[in-house]
Structures are given as structure tokens and as C-alpha cells.
């Protein structure tokens, strides 16, 4: 099957993703230097908050969405052996999303949308920002439709046959994203845009926060699923082994899709507009969603052990040394898992109903999500990029040892930056401050950590630059490369898979019930009680 158009489609998405990433990484270094206050000529709160807002949008929405779309198109066509359904439709989705990004970028870069990527009404941004963000999401819905159509086509042609695991996960992610984005879509379409355009005068910040919380947790699983897909379906093969359990992988993906949705209120533990009981309900759900990650840790490490022993590793830990540490995918997984252990520990603290009060909205939180998103999720995006670029561009990877150095530097930079960030939170530093002007001795204890973070930021920017350089040199190479991505085989072939592990019908119904329980009354209450909206506020 000629898949050159599919490859071009995926590669174009990837370039948008990593261009956004490169720009946002530059902003990241500027921010960590500016906020330290050691360089007074750099200080400008207008530039700082425009930068923070843009950095968040580029990393959280643009890098992720475009990467996931590109990854999905290639996974669908290569696992199902089908051409991408209706390529004009797919390119239209790409175009809509890209136009949205440009529309949102204009007010962001001119400081007219310094409301951060979480919107925070009643702070009001330029309407173009909200409209652009909406178009980005609408563009991603085109991708969701493509994935679901291709999955359905394949299932019709292969009744009763297990859907290839990577495509099962990707389809799950498309379904997850449709459910996830509904919350923020409702906030933007019914509240933010009409209010920003002046069609309605007031906005209920409590309702807006509730709708955003609908999206805010599962969106991180939307970002994470390609990483987990690589953990299960790509790395075991790269390591020279087999996937330990295909069935448990499916169960983990289903649990992620189902239980990441009805738990968003752990972002609202400290909010006054939702009651105790609802928060506790979501807290319990938050711990249920740790299960698929526990399972993933086990299955993936077991798969690595199989590979290590096949490569001649002996003894209790000898198989670890026997792993191919110079393979970018394998190294990205090992470093990603290490950061997942640290970040997961922090996450358990945030998720704890009581302990969260000590860290809520402090620098600890920024440190946490940089470690687990910027660390675990994104380092695997790098690993995937190094594996996919030669396949998609038809050129061999430029200097593989440089790729290994890039992954190590990202890991080291992330640890150096996020460890002091966590400590700053414990020392009471609020997040999202552009400078330290508090008239308090406590702030003296923050200084050494601010300095350390700058070094982390420097290493991370160097690492980001190296990534872009390697991808660029690969793309422009004169040599050629032939090959396709190879997926890991399970150690026990999958046969007689029960229907519920091979389709999403039942799970969609369960999600609908869960969402009705978890968000039904908490949203309805705003229409039952007397509420007082807020007007439009500048920044």
C-alpha cells in the first residue's frame, strides 16, 4: 500500500507540534529568568504574563493536539493497513486547527489575551483568542471522526478479530477527547464568546470553573495516551522483546478512558461553588484512575524484563543493564518512568482531599505538572519523533548518539528545574507570580531555589534546541531510508477476546452514566440557585 500521503499528513502535523514546542521552550527560559528578579532590566509583568499565557497554550494545546493527530493518522493507517479515510477531510481538520492557532496567537503575542491557558473569567481576553482556541478544538474533532470511521471500517471488514492494540488505544483517545472537550466547548460557546463579544453582560465564574474542570483532568490523559501507546506497542519491540500482556493493556486503556472523565473536581477542592460530597466523590474516582497507571507500570517493566533477559541479562537486576540504553525509544521510556514515579508521588498528594490544602496553587503544582507532563509525557513524544521521523521523511536519523544526549539532557534539566519548584511550593510560594515583592522574610528562603531553576531552564532550552536541530538535519539529509514502524507482539497471542475488550459501545454508555452522576447536579445547581454573574475585567 502506498502510504506517502499518510506520511506527509503525519509529518506536517508533527512539524507544527514541534515548531510550537521550540517557540514555547524559548519563552520558558525567559520566564524562569524574569521571575527570579535577578535581572532587573528584564522585568516586565506585561511581557511575562503574555509569555506565560502563550507558553501554556503552545505546550498544552498546540504541541499536544497536533502531535496526537499526526501520531493517530500514522498509527491508523499502519496498523489497520487502510488508507486514511477521506484525506481532504483530514487536511481540512488540519487547516481549521492551524487557522485557530494563528487567530489565538495574534492577541496572545500582543498581550491582549494574558488570561493564561485556563481562561480565568471574569478576566477577559480579546474575542479572537476564544474563537481561535475553539477552532483548534473543532479541527481536532475532524481527527476524532477520522479515527472512529477507520476503526469502524476495519471492524466491519474483520468481524470478531481483535483491533490492533495501538489502534484500539488511539480510537479510545479520540472518543475520550470528544467527551473531554465537551466541557470547555460549552464554556467557550455559551459563556466566554457571547460575553467577550458583548452579547451577554455577565458571566458566572463558578459555572465556568465547573465546566473547565470537566475538561481539565481528562485532557491530561488525552495527552498521555500516545505516550502509553508507545510504552505498550512500540518500546517492547525496540527493546528486543515482547509485550507482556495485550489484554491487560486494553483493560488499562479502557480504565483510563472511563475513569479520567468523571473526576475533574480534584481541581476544585479549594473552590466555594461546589459542595463537600461532590468533591469527595471525585476524589475517590481520582484514586480509581491510578489503577491503569499501576497496571501500566507493571506490564511495561515486565515487557522490558523479557527483552533484557532475551538479550542475555542475568540475575535480579542484570536484565536492566542488558537493555539497549542507546535506543532513543527505550531510553525515553526508562527516563519517562522515573519521572512518572516522582511525579505520581506528588500527584497522590495533590489528589488527597486534605493534604492538597497545603500545596494548592503554590509553586508545587507548577513543578508537578511540568514533571509529569513536560517530563513523562513529552519525553516519550521525543522518543516517538526519533523513531517516526526516518519512517515519515524517508531519511535516516541524524546522529543517533546526539538524540541520546538530548533525551538525557531533557531528563536532567527537568529534574533540576522541578525539584526546587516543588520545594518553593512547600515554602509557600504562590504560582504564577512574575516577581517577588512580598514584604516578608519568608521570601529570602526562596532565592537559592530560584537560582537553581534557572540552570534547569537553561539545560531544557538547550535540549529543546537540540531536538529541533536533529529533526531538521534528518529531514534535510541527502541519504534515504526505507522502513515502517514495527509494533510489538504480545508474548501470548490474543485470541477469543471478549467483546467488551474490543469495542467502546458499552464503555460509552458507562461514561454517559458516570458523567451524569458526577457533573449532572453540580452543573444544574447553578440554574436552581440565585447566582450573581461578573462583568468584564481587563488584566
Amino acid at each position: 500500500m502506498d502510504n506517502s500521503v499518510e506520511k506527509k499528513l503525519a509529518l506536517t502535523h508533527f512539524w507544527v507540534a514541534f515548531a510550537a514546542f521550540g517557540l514555547a521552550a524559548v519563552m520558558g527560559l525567559y520566564q524562569v529568568i524574569e521571575r527570579s528578579g535577578f535581572f532587573s532590566f528584564l522585568e516586565s509583568r506585561e511581557v511575562y504574563y503574555a509569555s506565560v499565557s502563550t507558553h501554556g497554550v503552545l505546550m498544552g494545546f498546540v504541541l499536544t493536539t497536533f502531535f496526537i493527530m499526526g501520531f493517530g493518522y500514522y498509527v491508523a493507517t499502519s496498523t489497520l493497513k487502510l488508507p486514511v479515510w477521506n484525506k481532504t477531510f483530514a487536511w481540512t481538520g488540519f487547516g481549521v486547527a492551524l487557522v485557530g492557532v494563528v487567530m489565538a496567537a495574534l492577541p496572545l503575542l500582543f498581550g491582549q489575551a494574558s488570561v493564561l491557558f485556563t481562561f480565568y473569567p471574569p478576566l477577559k481576553a480579546h474575542p479572537l483568542f476564544y474563537i481561535g482556541a475553539t477552532l483548534l478544538v473543532v479541527g481536532s474533532w475532524f481527527w476524532c471522526v477520522s479515527m472512529i470511521v477507520m476503526y469502524t471500517q476495519w471492524k466491519k471488514a474483520n468481524p470478531g478479530v481483535p483491533v490492533p492494540l495501538a489502534m484500539f488505544a488511539t480510537t479510545g483517545n479520540a472518543i475520550l477527547w470528544l467527551w473531554t472537550s465537551a466541557g470547555v466547548a460549552a464554556e467557550v460557546l455559551f459563556q466566554l464568546i457571547p460575553w467577550a463579544l458583548g452579547w451577554i453582560d455577565t458571566i458566572d465564574a463558578g459555572l465556568a470553573r465547573t465546566l473547565f474542570a470537566w475538561t481539565l483532568h481528562p485532557i491530561v490523559y488525552f495527552w498521555l495516551i500516545p505516550t502509553y501507546t508507545a510504552f505498550y506497542c512500540l518500546v517492547p519491540k525496540q527493546a528486543g522483546g515482547f509485550l507482556f500482556s495485550d489484554e491487560m493493556a486494553r483493560a488499562a486503556f479502557i480504565l483510563l478512558v472511563v475513569f479520567s472523565l468523571p473526576i475533574g473536581f480534584h481541581h476544585l477542592y479549594m473552590d466555594p461553588e461546589q459542595g463537600h460530597g461532590w468533591k469527595i466523590l471525585h476524589a475517590v474516582g481520582t484514586f480509581v484512575v491510578t489503577l491503569p497507571t499501576f497496571i501500566t507500570g507493571f506490564t511495561v517493566i515486565a515487557s522490558l524484563e523479557i527483552a533484557g533477559r532475551l538479550r542475555g541479562g542475568q540475575g535480579l537486576f542484570g536484565w536492566i543493564a542488558a537493555l539497549p540504553w542507546n535506543n532513543p525509544m527505550v531510553l525515553a521510556l526508562i527516563l519517562g518512568l522515573l519521572m512518572l514515579i516522582f511525579g505520581g508521588f506528588g500527584g497522590l498528594i495533590n489528589a488527597s482531599y486534605a493534604m492538597n490544602a497545603m500545596v494548592h496553587n503554590t509553586a508545587w503544582i507548577s513543578g508537578h505538572f511540568h514533571l509529569i507532563f513536560g517530563g513523562t509525557t513529552i519525553i516519550m513524544y521525543f522518543g516517538i519523533a526519533y523513531y517516526f521521523w526516518p519512517v515519515l521523511s524517508g531519511k535516516p536519523l541524524y546522529c543517533p548518539s546526539l538524540a541520546i544526549a538530548q533525551l538525557w539532557s531533557w531528563f536532567i534539566g527537568m529534574i533540576i528545574m522541578t525539584t526546587p519548584w516543588h520545594i518553593l511550593g512547600l515554602l509557600g510560594q504562590p504560582r504564577r507570580i512574575d516577581s517577588v515583592h512580598y514584604n516578608n522574610l519568608l521570601t529570602l528562603s526562596w532565592e537559592p531555589y530560584e537560582v537553581t531553576m534557572i540552570f534547569g531552564g537553561l539545560i531544557l532550552l538547550g535540549s529543546a534546541g537540540l531536538l529541533i536541530y536533529i529533526l531538521y538535519k534528518t529531514q534535510t539529509s541527502q541519504e534515504s531510508y526505507q522502513g515502517e514502524v514495527e509494533y510489538a507482539e504480545p508474548i501470548h497471542a490474543v485470541k477469543d477476546l471478549p467483546g467488551y475488550l474490543n469495542s467502546f459501545g458499552l464503555w460509552n454508555a458507562i461514561i454517559a452514566v458516570f458523567m451524569l452522576i458526577a457533573f449532572g447536579y453540580p452543573i444544574l445547581q447553578f440554574f436552581l440557585m440565585e447566582t450573581f454573574g461578573s462583568g468584564r475585567w481587563g488584566v
Binding site: 494574558s114 465564574a205 476544585l268 463537600h276 507493571f298 497522590l348 496553587n361
Partner: protein, 174 residues
């Protein structure tokens, strides 16, 4: 379908770990009475100065008949009002926070006094402050260009000192 024996055992262990966490959290929330601000109480943030409870002369600490203290505070760009406040240690304190403009958040470092302050809602937090000393109140939610300049101070004094101050009057105004 094939599920390895080891994998089954691990799934059981993981379930046990998650269950243990949930039990501890529910225990601490229900038995120890963790008071996250969950009072779901609305207020018109544009008319605070006309309200019974949050007009300027009603702000600050007031002692209740049972000896507990209620503190009423207004958050607005860029400060928490009243700007300075003296509070007793080892006393049950109920903070009631409102915003007069946008979303804010507030915490007192090294304590569990933390809440979001969402316009249109009253955020109520109960806590006890255990150690005397000077503490900052810091805004921890982005609220505009002056976010990093949004702070106030509180002084926590021993219960005996607090009672002496209150007899002289004026403890809450400086």
C-alpha cells in the same frame, strides 16, 4: 483470554493500594473534619459595600459567643482587606472570604488556610493557627498584572495576648 497469574496478583495489590489511600482520605475528611471551602453560598460581588456582612465596617475579626472567632475578608485587586489583622493562636477560626472583582486565591504559608475566592460566592474555611508570629496572606491565583503584589499581613498572638488586646479594643485595626 490470557491473564498471567503475576499480573492478576499485581492488579489485586494495586487495588489494595488505591483502596488504602481512599480509606485514609475518607477517614481524614469525615472523622477529622477537613474543611475545604464547600459552602456553596452566593453573594453579589458588585454590591459588597451594601451587604449586611461585608460592608467596610464589618470586616476583620469578631469574637463569637462560644469564644470562636469569625474573620470576614474582602479580596480585591491588589490586596486582602483589612490589610493587617491580629488573630489568636489555638482558637477555632472561621474565615469568610469574598472577592470584589475577579478570581483570587489565598493561603497562609505553613498553615492549611487555603481557598479560592470566586466572585459571586462566599468561601468559608475553618482552621486553627497553632504558632504565634507574623504571616503573609498571599494571592495564589492569577488575577491580573499586579498578582505578585497582592498580599496582606496577619499577626498571630497567643490567646492570652489576644484577650488582653481585645479588652483595650482596636486589636483588629492594626
Amino acid at each position: 483470554m490470557h491473564i498471567d497469574q503475576l499480573e492478576k496478583r499485581w492488579a489485586g495489590i494495586a487495588l489494595g493500594i488505591a483502596g488504602l489511600f481512599v480509606a485514609v482520605i475518607l477517614g481524614s475528611a469525615l472523622v477529622h473534619g477537613i474543611h475545604a471551602p464547600s459552602n456553596v453560598e452566593t453573594i453579589d460581588s458588585a454590591k459588597l459595600h451594601l451587604s449586611e456582612e461585608f460592608a467596610e465596617d464589618k470586616l476583620g475579626a469578631s469574637t463569637n459567643p462560644d469564644g470562636s472567632v469569625t474573620v470576614r475578608m474582602v479580596a480585591g485587586r491588589y490586596g486582602f482587606y483589612p490589610k493587617t489583622l491580629t488573630l489568636p493562636a489555638e482558637t477555632k477560626i472561621t474565615f469568610r472570604w469574598v472577592s470584589l472583582d475577579v478570581i483570587h486565591g489565598v493561603h497562609i504559608p505553613m498553615t492549611n488556610m487555603s481557598t479560592m475566592i470566586v466572585p459571586g460566592y462566599v468561601a468559608q474555611v475553618q482552621t486553627e493557627l497553632h504558632h504565634a508570629g507574623d504571616y503573609p496572606l498571599l494571592c495564589n491565583e492569577y488575577c491580573g498584572m499586579g498578582h505578585a503584589h497582592m498580599w496582606s499581613n496577619i499577626k498571630v498572638v497567643s490567646k492570652a495576648q489576644w484577650e488582653a488586646l481585645n479588652k483595650q479594643g482596636g486589636a483588629n485595626h492594626g
